[in-house]
């Protein structure tokens, strides 16, 4: 019985204290969340615009070469073939980004 009593006391000792936590922590977390949200938006816009500009320039410059690569599109004009290829690449990139997962969470 004394052993059981000591075990119970040890369990009681291991319980968390009831002292209230400061609210500053929540403010700090929410500030970090907002900061991250802002920087994510900025990065997406900047790199999205850059990507679009380079993609457009590349498409104009290489439309004939790209069209020749895809022999099954002989009936399609060079510009449309290039647009199709760019659309597929963009869709794959977007899907990869959306499905991106963090190993630290998934275990």
């Amino acid at each position: 019985m004394p052993e059981h009593g000591q075990e119970l006391e040890l369990e009681r000792l291991l319980e968390y204290s009831d002292a209230p936590e400061s609210g500053e922590f929540v403010v700090s977390v929410m500030n970090s969340v907002k900061r991250e949200q802002r920087s994510r938006t900025l990065i997406l816009w900047v790199f999205g615009l850059l990507g679009a500009l380079f993609g457009l320039a590349g498409a104009v410059m290489l439309s004939d070469s790209i069209a020749r690569l895809f022999s099954f599109t002989v009936y399609m004009p060079a510009t449309e073939t290039t647009q199709m290829v760019l659309f597929i690449v963009a869709a794959v990139a977007f899907y990869s980004w959306v499905m991106n997962d963090d190993l630290a969470v998934g275990g």
Binding site: L10, L14, V29, D102, A104
Partner: protein, 194 residues
């Protein structure tokens, strides 16, 4: 009260930051206390890791599957943050410091300082299992899910951890300090007064 599931759906569905704030307010105490135990009382680092935990949870909220509780999911992120931290700082002073076996922690203070010192007597896995079981009130399967340890291993860590603490307390011929029901104070405080 709005459930964690509903709040999480609001965050992932419409990026509702007020909903996420409610989740943080609801779970911050448990996560901070859990990390403080794991870090044997290092409040500063514990709060830094707790902040990283919530930030990661915000980023990855869409991956939370409602099979387990939100609290369990958060604890598992916090535990991984702790493991990453210990790997990075394996040789740092905080984690490598051996338990102070020469002095009785209860001579100096109450439970606030006594518990972190006692926690140094057990290893990190035992510390996590003991804290989740007795402080966070989680079941053994939940602890297994959080720590990634097998159910049997969780049970043996809890058993061994408790044995170590009890053995140390017996070895030093002390009973565990109790709150005095009349004065509301612990034995150390009473000894100081005397």
């Amino acid at each position: 009260m709005i459930s964690d599931l509903e709040l999480a759906a609001r965050v992932t569905g419409s990026n509702d930051q007020a909903a996420f704030q409610q989740l943080v307010e609801r779970h911050q105490a448990a996560i901070r206390r859990f990390l403080r135990r794991l870090l044997t009382g290092d409040h500063g680092t514990a709060d830094d890791l707790a902040q990283d935990t919530f930030l990661l949870a915000y980023r990855k909220l869409h991956t939370w599957r409602s099979r387990g509780s939100f609290a369990s999911w958060l604890h598992s992120i916090a535990y991984r943050q702790f493991l990453q931290f210990t790997r990075k700082h394996a040789r740092s002073r905080v984690m490598a410091e051996p338990p102070d076996r020469g002095t009785d922690p209860r001579e100096s203070v109450d439970a606030e300082i006594l518990v972190p010192r006692l926690m140094k007597l057990v290893n990190a896995e035992e510390r996590a299992c003991l804290t989740l079981a007795y402080a966070a009130g989680m079941s053994h399967p939940e602890i297994s899910g959080i720590t990634g340890l097998k159910l049997g291993t969780v049970k043996s860590h809890i058993h061994r951890g408790k044995q170590k603490l009890q053995h140390w307390l017996e070895e030093h011929d002390h009973s565990i300090p109790k709150q005095n029901s009349e004065t509301g104070t612990g034995p150390v405080e009473e000894a100081r007064r005397a």
